[in-house]
């Protein structure tokens, strides 16, 4: 009813002609609330419809209206939902039926998704139709831009990325509201809290960072400035959406946690409900972070993949707390422990997502990422303060609901290892937050900024990372509640042997840990990686052996059945294996080598066992960019390694005039031969070629694939015990925690 009136108001005002110099969304707002004087049309060149719209103006206005209607719907969802839940909570007679009101709020939430989708479509449509009357399209697209990158223009600037965020939030909310029947009341709470977050982002899009602003002066330029060349890379089409799916995805467990706390939800069902949401969000965030690393490695051309930039840090912090939450939440499920801790972990994860965004967009810390230094940081500060206040208030009010049912019974137990793992993850998170904020603190205290570069982060975070790797191996070897000495001896003997043997072998082959800190850390990482892998694989072997004995299946089939019977546990182990492989990749860093040389045709340069021979230097042009590159043959021990020569290049994009390095990379399991064209020597005009030999980098990408696979396995429902081919061992007085773990009944 209310919406019909609002929509009628919109439609009645839509007949007003638009001055092209006006900001489309502000105009839409004015049309709703203020009676405007008839605007003066400055340009008559653009053909208009009977209603007085040009095609381009129509799309901008359509997008703006969609965002405005979305804001109204989300606000209705928030207020109507809030009032309905309050009425239900206090009970008693009411003039309106609170259930019906909550249902209209839910439907408004669903409609928000439709309107935000329409707005996102309008922006993509504008990019594909080169609608340069919209300022955002001028800034982030141009005619010659290939189609996939025009799609990527949606998230390549601040306004578009906020629209993507809002759209993903609406999409998650859409799914949440459609699945409300599993627990109507809890979903109503979660949906209402989600609507509050949605209102914030739609307020930003309508008032602070409107994506449909028309160009100043009202004259559309013939072409746009083009997409930032750094973003013209296939991974950039998937990296930001992945990252945002992760960030935004953590909103769902946050809303469920806050909602469950507000309504004093009995039991742990909210954790069961949000487990998949959390894992999906975590998986997307993991993929997003690693795709960003790969992009940085392949595009930025400095030979590394992680620069400890504030934006990178901002993505890592919620990942660390999210990982801690995924682990400690098991203690709440299994033992009714750590309830307060878990609630604050998921609150922190969400708050860190917002904090990271605020840090980079408020211009508080400098970043290589483009859309820092803007005025919307204050909005994020206000939002962060409000959310934190709500969390603290709700927590204080309902704290008695979060009492633990059990406490730790032994230091040598799975619970204890989860606690220490949580602590280390949080210590890493604090360290990164500290490093990100210290320049600001230093400026406040000393009056001068300092730089927290890679040397600081490497010295401080590497020991923490290695300790985390150690705990990754220990956790699965401990039983719930308490581990017996016999069990410990049985579980730890092989990993300890693996650790010692690896260390001895590495020392024997010439690794000298006393020469540098980096080599020492590498030795520790390699040895721990072997130990952890041994621990995890022996868990698989032990469990499969039990299944094999019980069913007579061969070991491979028994392993498969074991995994299917407890996908969550063994999926988790696969994730751990992926992490170990990633750490092996990191351990190669101290052995990086590089060489740089101005190379005339026929010149050679040596790096490690490789010899690069310059075949010649070439220049080419197309509509999008001019390029110059060298062709380099690669030899190892006098033998040609590659059939095709490597071709590192330097592009200069026509639209923006911006140069961009295109890396040539020959990747093997052993190392990457990573070659860049640095530019021309000022005196000789010869191209300067820089070559890096980066050991074990490909292990990082393999590790990521394994982690994603493990997460997918964990997402698959386990076989129902009644349908499983193996009957669960009937518990007897003699059954032990270790025995339970061996057949895959624990996590």
């Amino acid at each position: 009813m209310h919406f019909t009136v609002l929509l009628a108001t919109f439609v009645s005002h839509c007949k007003i002609n638009i001055d092209r110099s006006d900001n489309a969304n502000r105009l839409a707002l004015h049309m709703l609330f203020v009676r405007l004087p008839a605007p003066v049309r400055k340009s008559k060149e653009i053909p208009r419809t009977r209603a007085g719209w040009s095609d381009t103006e129509f799309m901008a206005a359509f997008g703006s209206f969609a965002l405005l209607i979305g804001l109204v719907l989300a606000a209705y969802n928030l207020f109507a939902g809030g009032i309905a839940l309050r009425l239900i909570a206090v009970g008693g007679p009411a003039r309106v039926n609170p259930e019906k009101m909550a249902e209209t709020a839910r439907k408004a939430g669903i409609a928000t998704f439709v309107t935000v989708t329409a707005a996102a479509f309008a922006l993509v449509w504008a990019a594909f139709h080169n609608d340069f009357s919209i300022e955002y399209i001028v800034e982030h697209s141009n005619i010659a831009l290939p189609a996939p990158y025009k799609f990527a223009a949606l998230w390549s600037g601040q306004e578009g990325s906020l629209l993507l965020w809002s759209w993903l939030l609406a999409a998650y909310g859409f799914v949440l509201r459609l699945t409300h029947k599993s627990d109507v009341k809890l979903h109503a709470y979660a949906g209402t809290i989600l609507a509050a977050v949605q209102v914030f982002f739609l307020l930003l899009l309508n008032f602070a960072a409107p994506p449909f602003s028309l160009v100043r002066g009202g004259i559309a330029p013939p072409d746009g400035n083009g997409l930032n060349p750094l973003l013209q890379y296939p991974e950039m089409v998937i990296h930001p959406p992945m990252l945002y799916l992760g960030y935004v995805g953590f909103t769902i467990p946050f809303t469920f946690a806050l909602g469950a706390l507000m309504m004093r939800y009995p039991g742990e069902k909210w954790i069961h409900t949000t487990r998949r949401w959390t894992m999906v969000a975590w998986m997307f965030l993991t993929c997003g972070i690693f795709l960003g690393m790969h992009w940085a490695y392949a595009v930025l051309g400095w030979g590394g993949y992680w620069g400890w930039d504030p934006v990178e840090n901002a993505s890592l912090m919620p990942w660390l707390t999210g990982t801690a939450f995924l682990h400690s939440v098991m203690m709440q499920e299994k033992r009714g422990m750590m309830k307060q801790w878990n609630v604050w972990l998921i609150f922190s994860t969400f708050l860190l997502s917002i904090l990271g965004t605020m840090l980079t967009r408020a211009g508080l810390v400098s970043s290589v990422h483009a859309f820092a230094q803007s005025s919307i940081g204050n909005w994020f500060v206000a939002f962060l303060v409000i959310i934190l206040a709500v969390c603290i208030f709700t927590y204080i009010l309902q704290r008695d609901h979060l009492k633990s049912e059990h406490h730790l019974e032994s230091l040598v137990s799975r619970e204890s290892s989860f606690m220490f793992n949580n602590l280390i993850l949080l210590a890493a998170c604090f360290t990164i937050l500290w490093g990100t904020l210290f320049p600001v603190i230093s400026e406040y205290v000393q009056g001068s900024k300092v730089t927290m570069g890679a040397p600081w982060y490497n010295q401080v975070t590497v020991p923490i990372g290695i300790f985390l790797l150690f705990l990754t191996g220990i956790g699965p070897l401990l039983a719930w509640r308490a581990s017996s000495f016999r069990g410990l001896r049985r579980n730890f003997i092989l990993p300890i042997i693996a650790f010692v043997v690896t260390a001895i072998v590495l020392l024997a082959v010439g690794l000298k840990p006393w020469t540098s800190e980096g080599v020492f850390y590498s030795l520790m990482t390699f040895s721990l990686a072997t130990a952890v892998s041994t621990a995890v694989l022996s868990e698989f072997f032990r469990g499969a052996n039990v299944v094999h004995r019980q069913t007579g299946k061969n070991l491979a089939a028994a392993t498969l059945l074991l995994i299917r019977r407890n996908t969550r546990r063994y999926g988790g182990y696969i994730v751990h294996l992926g992490l170990v492989i990633i750490f092996i990749g990191f351990a190669g860093i101290p052995f990086n080598r590089s060489a740089e040389q101005a190379m005339a045709p026929g010149d050679t340069m040596n790096v490690g066992p490789y010899t690069l021979k310059n075949l010649g230097n070439t220049q080419e042009s197309n509509a999008n960019y001019d390029t110059e590159f060298s062709l380099l043959d690669v030899y190892e021990n006098g033998k040609k390694v590659l059939n095709q020569p490597m071709a590192p290049e330097k592009r200069v994009y026509a639209a923006s005039g911006t140069p961009q390095t295109m890396v040539a990379n020959h990747s093997t399991l052993r190392w990457d031969l990573y070659v860049i064209y640095e530019g021309r020597d000022a005196t000789t005009d010869l191209p300067i070629i820089k070559a890096f030999l980066n050991p074990l980098v490909s292990w990082i990408w393999i590790g990521l694939a394994i982690m994603v696979f493990g997460t997918l396995v964990a997402l698959v429902p386990s076989l129902n015990p009644s349908r499983a081919a193996v009957t669960v061992v009937k518990p007897s007085p003699a059954v032990t925690a270790e025995a339970m773990n061996a057949v895959g009944s624990g996590d």
Binding site: T431, G435, F438, Q459, I464, P731, E738, G746
Partner: protein
């Protein structure tokens, strides 16, 4: 006789020892003046000041206005025989503290280095104490060094049964 023997022993080994000593000194002095190593070592402690937020040696900006100038300054400093501290101090005077890739370990900046470890140690210690208190407060159901399988009490047994029932029933639905 003894003297002559000592002399012959000395004369036999004196030359090679002298040669080794000279070689070692030459190697050490070469190592000390290995400008390439020093250049990379100091380069890793400096940032590019063009605003790219990259390390000096890692900056790959085409036509970067700062990188060449900073590298020239670094080469000049090394060639003129200045020690590392003097070279870095020169950079700080020219570009400010932000030119250093990590804060120095003195004054207020020391806090940057200490804080992460202090917080980690305090948190670990605090948790260990908390866990110890919890364990002391608990009625002793299971001790760390006695096997769970030894002779579980009826409470443990019923807890275990309940856990098995819960885990095996809910695993499929979550």
């Amino acid at each position: 006789m003894l003297t002559s023997h000592r002399n012959s022993w000395f004369s036999r080994f004196a030359r090679p020892m002298q040669a080794i000593a000279v070689a070692v000194l030459v190697c050490l002095s070469l190592a000390a003046t290995d400008t390439g190593d020093r250049f990379h070592k100091l380069g890793d402690k400096l940032m590019c000041t063009c605003g790219c937020a990259q390390m000096l040696l890692g900056c790959d900006h085409y036509g970067c206005p700062s990188r060449g100038e900073e590298m020239d300054r670094l080469r000049t400093g090394i060639a003129s025989g200045q020690d590392d501290a003097t070279i870095l101090q020169g950079f700080v005077q020219e570009y400010g503290m932000v030119v250093l890739s990590a804060p120095p370990t003195k004054g207020f900046n020391l806090v940057a280095w200490i804080m992460p470890f202090a917080v980690s140690i305090l948190a670990l210690g605090g948790t260990a104490l908390l866990v110890r208190n919890w364990i002391r407060q608990q009625p002793k159901l299971v001790s760390a060094d006695s096997s769970v399988s030894a002779t579980p009490s009826p409470t443990v047994d019923s807890d275990m049964r309940e856990r098995i029932r819960r885990e095996t029933n809910t695993e499929g639905e979550v």
